[in-house]
């Protein structure tokens, strides 16, 4: 359970998030909105890259904002980035093991946990392969393996399907769907692919110009007049 209260972020004169109060209960939750709505800023607050000017975030009874950013991974926060950030220089194995060794997990179970995470996301390759030799879809999966290794509590996925062909998006959907039951983590998914959001998320919150304009069961939210005007409608027009 993540409870966000009165979250406000200002960069100079720009207000990226304005008094956002929202909660994410369990399973996979969607977070959608037009570009510049503040979705990534919201993730950056949770991961500690951005300090909010007001508000609080309680995550499973922990005051998340009081933890130093690098300690949040140890606490169980994992995230992927809009532009995929698997470390090119390292092998697939080392990419995933890196998260494990900076968590408070025993080194004895590391090899098993890491290989299990790689298998879970369906990466069918030698774990010693350098990430630099992989394609975009496989790199996304490496990032996902990093997100599920160990004992994550909160997984933030920032447009995981961006730029992937349909087939790989389908595979990604299968993986994302299983994260809550497999890893026992709460997942927050940001994406512009509404079919992905529909398939994965029971509940969804919508941001527009830094304000929360709707939240609730995904189907209801996607039928909401205001949401269609602010976000979905524009997409249809563009299409």
């Amino acid at each position: 359970m993540i409870e966000v209260r009165g979250l406000t972020v200002r960069f100079g004169g720009v207000t990226s998030l304005q008094d956002v109060t929202v909660s994410f209960a369990r399973g996979t939750c969607g977070l959608i909105g037009p570009n510049g709505a503040g979705k990534t800023t919201f993730f950056n607050v949770l991961s500690g890259f951005v300090r909010p000017s007001a508000g609080s975030v309680r995550a499973f009874d922990t005051d998340l904002l009081r933890l130093a950013h690098f300690r949040r991974a140890r606490w169980g926060l994992r995230r992927t980035f809009q532009t995929e950030q698997a470390i090119e220089e390292l092998s697939v194995y080392d990419n995933v093991a890196m998260i494990h060794e900076h968590s408070r997990l025993s080194a004895g179970s590391r090899r098993r946990d890491v290989l299990e995470a790689i298998a879970f996301v369906g990466l069918d390759l030698d774990p010693r392969a350098r990430v630099a030799t992989l394609g975009a879809g496989q790199r996304r999966l490496v990032e996902l393996a990093r997100a599920v290794v160990g004992r994550p509590r909160l997984v933030l996925l920032d447009e995981p399907a961006a730029g992937l062909p349909d087939e790989e998006t389908r595979h990604l959907r299968e993986v994302i769907l299983q994260i809550p039951s497999h890893a026992g983590a709460l997942v927050i998914l940001v994406d512009h692919d509404m079919s992905l959001v529909r398939a994965c998320c029971e509940t969804t919150a919508v941001l527009d110009f830094g304000r929360l304009i709707a939240s609730g069961p995904t189907e209801e939210v996607l039928r909401d007049e205001q949401v269609i005007r602010a976000y979905l409608g524009t997409e249809e027009l563009a299409a």
Binding site: S47, G48, F49, H69, F70, R71, R72, A73, R74, R78, R79, F81, Q85, I87, E88, E89, L90, Y93, D94, A97, M98, I99, E101, H102, S103, R111, L115, E116, I118, A119, F120, V121, G122, L123, D124, L125, D126, P127, R128, R146, H171, E174, V175, Q178, H182
Partner: protein
């Protein structure tokens, strides 16, 4: 635990090549090369070149330290010659003032230099790129100025250990087992090998992975739970430690130290040769040291002014940056392999193409 999709084979693939034959072969080749350098090289070379190779051993370690900073973590330091000078100063002082065993002095100067060098690295926590390079260069300049004032210890008394009135300046002592130049060359190579092993142990393990993450993206490193501040300082500490040890070896190698031997611009030349050799590779550090110390000795012996090297290095850096960002350590084996394929391929095809008449 079940998995998505087809793959459960990651584990089997991991088991499949646990014994990596090529890694064993490489380790064996390094061992043979090391034995050759230790046993055969001093017999083959004149004293002049043995001294030059001792310098190569020292500067290979200095280049390795800069390679860790630039290649592994992405931090440009232009202060490494000053750090080397600190190491040399500290060990000279200890060697004159105490009768501690030589390895203990090396260790002590490594540790003291590590503390001071990490201070040089403090700006790196806030800065990168050009600004970090500038700040470290200014700090190196400051250290050079201080050294020019206090001078290197020459057996005098007091904290600084300098006496300007000496007529016969005593030499810095060497370990008893390595008093002659060839013996000290072997000693320097062994020390360098230990420093390379120390760095290898770092880059192959937790700090190496953390550095790779920091170099590519600090946000990604933070999201992986890496304490970026700690690991950046760790890199500076490691680089300063090995450079300090190298300073100790240098002090005993030359036996008389003068502050003009550590000009600030040497740090820039060092950066150039490290880029040419390959900052990411351990071999690159050896190549860098050969370029920096052996090549000038060779040119001097041939009667060519070593000043020409400034131009050669300039062209060399340009060449490497445009055609092989990972330096000669990667480019030379790659091009040799390509050449070999070309030659071997042509050999096979010759009868068909040339009719076998030529």
């Amino acid at each position: 635990m079940e998995s998505v999709g087809l793959s459960t084979s990651a584990r089997e693939r991991w088991r499949a090549h646990r014994l990596d034959a090529s890694a064993l072969l490489r380790a064996g080749a390094v061992g043979v090369l090391l034995l050759f350098v230790l046993l055969a090289l001093p017999q083959l070379l004149s004293l002049y070149y043995i001294d030059a190779m001792t310098q190569v051993a020292v500067y290979a370690v200095v280049a390795l330290g800069l390679g860790v900073l630039i290649g592994r973590v992405g931090l440009v330091s232009l202060g490494q010659t000053a750090v080397l000078a600190i190491g040399a100063w500290v060990s000279a002082r200890l060697l004159f003032a105490t009768s501690l065993p030589f390895p203990v002095v090396l260790l002590a100067s490594g540790v003291i230099t590590m503390v001071l060098g990490t201070v040089v690295g403090l700006p790196a926590l806030r800065m990168r790129g050009l600004y970090l390079a500038l700040i470290t260069l200014m700090l190196a300049g400051a250290i050079t100025v201080v050294l020019a004032t206090v001078n290197f210890p020459n057996g005098g008394h007091g904290f600084l250990g300098y006496n300007g009135n000496f007529v016969h300046i005593p030499s810095i002592r060497r370990p008893a087992i390595a008093a002659s130049d060839p013996a000290f060359f072997r000693y320097a190579v062994v020390v360098a090998a230990v420093m390379f092993a120390l760095v290898l142990a770092h880059v192959r393990s937790r700090p190496g992975r953390a550095w790779a993450a920091i170099r590519q993206s600090e946000p990604a490193a933070l999201a992986a739970g890496i304490n970026v501040t700690l690991y950046k300082l760790w890199a500076f500490a490691l680089a300063s430690f090995i450079t300090g040890v190298a300073g100790g070896v240098l002090a005993a190698a030359v036996r008389h130290l003068y502050s003009i031997d550590f000009p600030t611009q040497d740090s820039i030349t060092l950066l150039a040769v490290v880029l040419m050799g390959g900052a990411y590779s351990l071999w690159g550090a050896v190549i860098a040291a050969l370029l920096l110390e052996f090549l000038p000795a060779l040119l001097n012996n041939w009667g060519v002014s070593a000043d020409w090297l400034t131009i050669v290095f300039g062209v060399g850096v340009l060449q490497v940056l445009t055609t092989a960002p990972r330096g000669l350590a990667e480019q030379v084996p790659r091009d040799l392999a390509r050449l070999w394929r070309l030659v071997a391929g042509r050999g096979r095809h010759r009868p068909a193409v040339g009719g076998g008449a030529r």
